[in-house]
Symmetry: C2
Subunit: 353 residues, 2 copies
C-alpha cells in the first residue's frame, strides 16, 4: 500500500508580495492559472485514490486547502496549529499511517514544479520498490545537478544498491554550500540536489526517529493507540521542536538511500527560479498580467492589478500586486526575505506582509 503525504506548511516568503501570510506560495497560480498545490494533488492522483492522500498545512489554511483540493477527504487533512518545519509533520503522518496498516508513504512538498507526472511516477515507483523491501531504507529522490546552486541541500551517493540500477546508498547530506564547494559537487558527479521528496515505510521512519529524534518519536507515538488522534495533534505540534527531517534525521541515519530522479524539477525557490521556467521573449523578458515593456532584457514583469510599465531595464524582477510593488535585481531574489524582516520591524507595515 502506498499513500501520499503532501507537505503544504510552507509560507513561501520569497514569493512576496504575491505570496502573503494568508496566501502562501503553494496557493499561487504560477502555472496555467492553477495553484501549485492543485498541480501537486493532480500528480499524486494519477496513481493514488483521494482517500490515499494526506495534506498537512497550517490550521488557518484549512479553508483555502479545501477550496483548492475539492477532492480531498476531510479526515485526511492534518492541521498544524504552528509551523514546526518538516520533521514533526512527517513524524505525525507516519504515526497516523501506523494506525492504518503501516503503508509506504510518498512525501512531497506542495509547492514544487514537476511538469511531467509520468516521469515523476517512474522515479517514485522505483523509490517505493526500494523502500518496500523488508527493513527497506528511507528513500530520497536526488535531482541531477544542473548548476552550482548555493540555495539547495546536496546528497552524496555511495555504492549502488543491488536491487536496481540508479538506486544508491546515501552517503552524506550537505547543507547549502558556498559557491566554490557547490562547483566541486557538480564536477564530482556523485552528488544530487535534495528534492525533499521521500518514500519510506511508516514504521521504518518511526524506527529511525526513535534512534535519532527520540523526543519527537515519544510525542507522535501517542497517536497510534489514541481513540481520537485528531484531538492530540495540536498538543504534539505545539510541544515539538521545529526541525527539518533532513537535518534532524536523514543526515544522521545510516538507513537512507537515494534514487536518481528522472524528471524535470524546480523548487521554485524564488522569483528568478520561476522566471526561468516561464515563457520569455527573445530578450529573456517574461510578462504576465497588464504590463508594458520597452527595451527590457532578462526581466520578469508581473501585475495582478493595475499596470506595470518598464523601460530600458534589465535583470530585474518587478511584481505589482494589490498594495505592494516589488523591484529586485534578479540575482538578489533570495534576499526578498530580508525585506520582509525589515517590514516586520516597521510600524504599520503589517498589512503588507
Amino acid at each position: 500500500m502506498l499513500e501520499g503525504v503532501v507537505l503544504a506548511g510552507g509560507r513561501g516568503e520569497r514569493f512576496w508580495p504575491l505570496s502573503r501570510r494568508a496566501r502562501p506560495k503553494q496557493f499561487l497560480p504560477l502555472f496555467g492559472g492553477r495553484s501549485l498545490i492543485a498541480h501537486t494533488w493532480e500528480r499524486l492522483r494519477r496513481e493514488l485514490a483521494a482517500e490515499g492522500i494526506r495534506v498537512i498545512a497550517g490550521s488557518d489554511l484549512r479553508e483555502r486547502v479545501c477550496a483548492e483540493l475539492p477532492e480531498m477527504v476531510a479526515e485526511r487533512f492534518v492541521p498544524e496549529p504552528v509551523g514546526r518545519n518538516t520533521a514533526p509533520a512527517v513524524a505525525v503522518a507516519a504515526a497516523l499511517g501506523l494506525r492504518e496498516g503501516d503503508p509506504l508513504q510518498l512525501v512531497v512538498p506542495a509547492d514544487h514544479w514537476i511538469p511531467d507526472a509520468e516521469a515523476f511516477w517512474r522515479s517514485a515507483r522505483a523509490a517505493a520498490a526500494t523502500a518496500a523491501a523488508t527493513d527497506g531504507p528511507l528513500v530520497t529522490l536526488g535531482i541531477p545537478i544542473r548548476r552550482p546552486e548555493t540555495g539547495f541541500g546536496y546528497i552524496e551517493r555511495g555504492e549502488e544498491r543491488p536491487e536496481a540500477a540508479g538506486v544508491y546508498r546515501a552517503l552524506c547530506f550537505h547543507e547549502k554550500p558556498e559557491r566554490e564547494r557547490a562547483e566541486t559537487y557538480q564536477r564530482a558527479g556523485r552528488f544530487y540536489w535534495n528534492s525533499g521528496i521521500f518514500v519510506w515505510r511508516a514504521s521504518a521512519l518511526l524506527a529511525e526517529l526513535e534512534a535519532h529524534m527520540p523526543e519527537l518519536h515519544r510525542l507522535v507515538m501517542t497517536l497510534p493507540g489514541a481513540a481520537r488522534p485528531q484531538d492530540l495533534l495540536a498538543g504534539i505540534f505545539e510541544r515539538a521542536a521545529g526541525e527539518s527531517i533532513d537535518r534532524g534525521l536523514l543526515e544522521k541515519s545510516r538507513r537512507v538511500a537515494v534514487v536518481e530522479a528522472g524528471f524535470a524539477w524546480s523548487d521554485l525557490g524564488s522569483w528568478s527560479s520561476w522566471a526561468e521556467l516561464a515563457e520569455a521573449d527573445a530578450l529573456g523578458t517574461v510578462a504576465l498580467g497588464e504590463t508594458l515593456q520597452l527595451d527590457c532584457e532578462n526581466t520578469l514583469v508581473l501585475s495582478d492589478e493595475g499596470l506595470v510599465a518598464a523601460l530600458g531595464v534589465k535583470d530585474l524582477v518587478v511584481v505589482r500586486t494589490g498594495d505592494v510593488t516589488l523591484v529586485v535585481d534578479r540575482e538578489r531574489c533570495q534576499d526578498v526575505r530580508r525585506l520582509l524582516a525589515e517590514l516586520r520591524e516597521r510600524l504599520g507595515a503589517e498589512r503588507f506582509l
Copy 2:
C-alpha cells in the same frame, strides 16, 4: 508697469504616471508638498500684485488652477481650448496687455524649479530694465551651461549691450543639439541654455510677430479693440497654428537680447532631473512616500499609494501611483513619452494615461 504671464499649458508627460491628463506636471507637489505652479505664483507675487499676473492654461484645467492659486484674479485666467504651444499663448497675452497700457511682460513657465526667488528677481529686473528702453529688445534669460545637455535649446550670445553688464545681443538660437555639439557649446563659453523665461514690452512682441508670424499677429490683433475679448479667445486658439515662440519668432528676430541668469534653475524635464534636486541618501537614492530600500544605489523610489520595496537595484526610477507602476532606467527617463505613445495605441489602456 510690469506684469507676469504664467504659461501653464504644458502636459508634462515625462512625469507620467504621477502626471496624468487631468493632473499635468505643473500641479504635482514635487517640492515641499506644494505644486510647481503654486511655487511659481509665489515667486511672482514677491514683486507683483495678484491683479498683475495672467495665467494661461487649458480650459479643462481652470478649476485646478483656481484651487492651486486662490489669489488669482478670475479675469486674469486665459483659457486655451486646445494646446497650441507657446507662440499663440504669448501673442494672446501681449494683445490683451495692449488693451491695458502696453506693459512689460515677464513670461514664465509654470513648471520650472527656481528655489531662490530673490536671485530670480535680480535677473528679472535686469531683463526688464533692458526691455523697458525705447525700442527695447525681446529679452530672454539664459542659464549658464552646467553640462552638455541634449534636451535643451541653446542661445549663442553676441556682443555685450552698452546699457548693462551681463546683457548681450542674442546671436543665434540652437535647437536641441547632438551630444558632441552640446559639448562644443559648453567649451565655447558663449552659449546659454534657453530657460523659456522672457521679458518684453507687449507692443514690441507684437511688432516682431507682425514681421515673422503675420498670421498669428492678425489673429490676436482682433483682441485690443474687442468689446468682449474673452469671447474671441477660443476662436483664436483654434485657428492658430501650434508653434513655440522660440522657433516661430525668437530664432528669426534680430531684436532679441539675452540676460545671463544668476539663479539656480531646472526645467524638471524628467524624473531624473527631479531626482537630482531631491535629497538623496549616501548611495544617491531618493525615497518618497511609503517605500523600503535595501542595497539600492542612485535610485529614485516614489509611492503615493501602497508600498514600493526595492532590493539591490541601481540607476532606476520607480514610481507607484494609483493604478500604475513605472520602472525605468534613470538614463532613459526622456523616453517615458514612448511608453505613453504605446499605451495610446492599446485598447482599454486609456485609464492609465
